[in-house]
């Protein structure tokens, strides 16, 4: 065999990681299409949020069943990656089970990987049953038809196959160890894969080596394939949940930002010394007038766009949304999915046009998200509270409402009446401001 497997392994690793890195660059470029927003405040709190919400899964367990199963898969993912490290070193050096020098510690490690792998397998099967047999309501919404549904299942199939390959590899290895095959020294403990021994019993060492090597290769190639699948999948959350919780909002949920561009204009209007006929300051003619609110992804903040890539479509937001619960079209999850879909479309447009976005006559507002959805929101923050990874669909909804009202004067008629009342009487109803204290004598 010589050095050929090592070369092949290095090539596979290079292609797998290289292709992924290239897509990560595109991902970062797409996110940076968003408006700049200052996230330099209160770093300690941000680290704390990331540790608690992403690393510590604090919000996942608000729903105990899904939360518990998710923690198993999450811990399994993180810990079994230690095994992947060994596989990579083995693959590059041509050694077998290089960490086995750790002796008893190695046995404990391999043993716990196996137990975790089995727990992951069971959890993933339960997840599949929840999606496909029990048909939990939040996985059945209209935005979950087609690709999103397949995506969810593909991820689960990937995980089942990877775990089975891992256990097969270990089982065959154990049989080879028991047979005293050359190159397969006694190492590791196999609490789960030992149950596979009856299958391997009686097979020749040559056959066993083929099984072990095939499972080993498919496992690592599967992992590289899965890594590259992420970019096209909702499963990106396994990476982006960390930055997303870091950059999530720190202010009270009720605090909506005040638009600086508006403040400048309002202050000018309120300033009795301002000269309405004054010439514009030098250079002001060249400035692009500020656009109020958002009609497309480039108008949103980059945190909104990071949110969109982070969303794993679990639907907890939508299942808590009062509008959605009462049959309205609004689904906060769909807001996030639409934002990502449009962002991907814009990114592909840029790729196809040598780095420049060419107007495609489409935008997020109207082509993806309808006014009816936007106006159904009660701004109650239930979606924001529900998200296990600090995504804020409400911020996107509000920016799009701002565009509708301030750029298009396209508010529903009743809201226009309400706003006219505020302008004229200082109250949303047509009462005279001079009657504001009448209640005292009634």
């Amino acid at each position: 065999m010589g050095i050929l497997p090592q070369i092949l392994f290095a090539i596979a690793l290079f292609i797998g990681i290289g292709y992924f890195a290239n897509n990560v660059r595109k991902l970062a470029r797409n996110i940076k299409l968003g408006q700049d927003v200052d996230t330099s405040d209160d770093k300690p709190q941000r680290w704390k949020n990331m540790a608690r919400i992403a690393f510590g899964q604090s919000k996942m367990v608000k729903r105990p069943i899904a939360g518990f199963l998710h923690i198993i898969v999450y811990v399994g993912f993180v810990i079994i990656n230690i095994e992947v490290l060994e596989i990579i070193i083995d693959g590059l050096t041509g050694k077998h089970r290089i960490f086995s020098g750790a002796g008893q510690l190695y046995d404990i490690l391999i043993g716990s990987f196996e137990l975790l792998a089995f727990a992951v397998l069971v959890s993933v099967i339960i997840f599949w049953i929840r999606r496909n047999i029990i048909k939990l309501k939040r996985f059945m919404s209209s935005e979950m038809k087609g690709w999103p549904k397949s995506d969810g299942n593909i991820i689960l199939y990937f995980e089942v196959v990877l775990m089975c390959l891992f256990l097969t590899m270990n089982g065959a290895d154990l049989q080879l160890q028991l047979n005293g095959a050359a190159g397969y020294h006694t190492a590791g403990s196999f609490p789960i894969s030992q149950w596979l021994l009856p299958i391997f019993d009686g097979l020749s060492n040559a056959t066993l080596i083929i099984i072990e090597r095939t499972a080993w290769w498919l496992h690592i190639i599967g992992i590289l394939a899965f890594l590259n699948y992420l970019y096209f999948s909702k499963h990106l959350h396994i990476l982006l949940a960390f930055p997303n919780t870091f950059y999530g909002r720190l202010k009270p949920k009720g605090q909506f930002e005040n638009l600086d561009a508006v403040t400048t204009e309002v202050m000018m209007m309120m300033d009795p010394n301002a000269d309405p006929f004054a010439a514009a300051p030098e250079g002001a003619e060249d400035e692009v007038p500020a656009k109020f609110g958002a009609s497309d992804v480039q108008d949103l903040t980059w945190v909104n766009l990071l949110n969109a890539y982070t969303c794993t479509e679990c639907g907890r937001c939508t299942s808590e949304c009062p509008a959605n619960k009462t049959g309205k079209k609004l689904s906060p999850r769909k807001i996030m999915m639409d934002t990502r879909d449009r962002l991907v479309e814009v990114g592909q447009n840029i790729d196809a046009n040598k780095g420049e976005f060419v107007d495609d006559g489409k935008q997020l507002l109207g082509d993806y998200i309808t006014k009816e959805e936007l106006w159904a929101c009660t701004s109650c923050n239930a979606c924001v509270e529900a998200c296990p990874v600090s995504i804020d669909p409400l911020h996107i909804i509000m920016q799009m409402r701002q565009y509708l009202v301030m750029e298009q004067s396209a508010a529903p008629m009743e809201l226009n009446n309400m706003m006219t009342n505020i302008e004229n009487n200082g109250a949303p109803w047509p009462y005279n401001q001079m009657d504001r204290l009448n209640w005292k004598d009634e």
Binding site: V262, E372, A382, M419, E423, G426
Partner: protein
């Protein structure tokens, strides 16, 4: 009754060269809505009873701009905010109490960025502080042992994480506080927020206030307690829709406390 209410204005305080302890921000609903005016009066009775030196802006008060902002009209919001801030800063207001969570949230969180920095309290927080300072006593009275469920206003609860002040007050009434299946951080909206109060809902299969009222009625309450004039309207409508208005009352916490003492 009403002649007993003492409702001084900031202008009167200023004329007398005095500064009140707190400004009571009445809000548009509290000023104009017939149902909410009762809440305003109940709260004033409690303030009078506790000898709180408060003042109102009266005709100098104007909408905080909350419904304009949530509708997307940032311009109108900031016009309102800057005008109100100018008035309040001229009076050197330091502390504000309001019975409306929307006014509470907007003044507390969104006014500072525009130059309005005040200590802002929801009336349930303020009443609780009066209680702990010994300036107000709460008796159960007619509400002793009654089953009361509390509906969390979104802009008090999730938006500002005030969950306990209203509940502590209900417990002080020696009432039986029962929780709905969605409460506190998972409380279901009444359907009025985000300027929905002022428009017809989008097509769906149910109105949000009906859904929330159903959750409230599941707890078999005698009273649905609210801490927001808009929630109060929505829940009252919901109870009427379910034809339960003879069995279930929708009351603001200030009203419960005032009524318990026959104020």
């Amino acid at each position: 009754m009403s002649e007993l209410l003492k409702v001084p204005t900031m202008a009167e305080f200023m004329a007398a060269g005095k500064q009140p302890e707190v400004l009571f921000w009445v809000g548009c609903a509290g000023s104009f809505d017939d149902r909410a005016k009762k809440i305003t009066k109940a709260f004033v009775k409690l303030l009078n009873k506790a000898n709180v030196e408060f003042a109102v802006l009266g005709t100098e008060e104007s909408c905080t701009g909350d419904p304009a902002k949530r509708s997307g009209n940032e311009f109108l919001f900031q016009m309102q905010a800057v005008t109100n801030i100018e008035v309040m800063n001229a009076y050197e207001i330091k502390k504000i109490v309001t019975a409306c969570p929307h006014c509470f949230n907007t003044i507390k969180n969104e006014y500072p960025g525009l130059g309005g920095n005040y200590e802002v309290m929801h009336h349930t927080q303020f009443l609780k502080s009066l209680l702990s300072e010994g300036r107000l006593t709460i008796e159960g009275g007619q509400y002793k042992g009654k089953r009361i469920t509390f509906h969390d206003p979104c802009y008090l609860g999730r938006a500002n994480e005030v969950y306990e002040a209203p509940r502590d007050l209900i417990r002080k009434l020696d009432a039986e506080l029962v929780e709905m299946k969605s409460c506190k951080s998972r409380g279901l909206c009444c359907g009025a927020g985000g300027a929905q109060m002022f428009k017809e809902p989008e097509p769906g299969n149910k109105d949000i206030n009906i859904k929330r009222t159903e959750q409230a009625l599941e707890t078999k309450p005698q009273i649905i307690a609210a801490g927001c004039p808009f929630c109060n309207t929505m829940m009252t409508d919901g109870v009427k829709n379910k034809e339960k208005e003879d069995q279930v009352e929708v009351m603001d916490i200030a009203e419960l406390i005032a009524n318990a003492q026959d104020l």
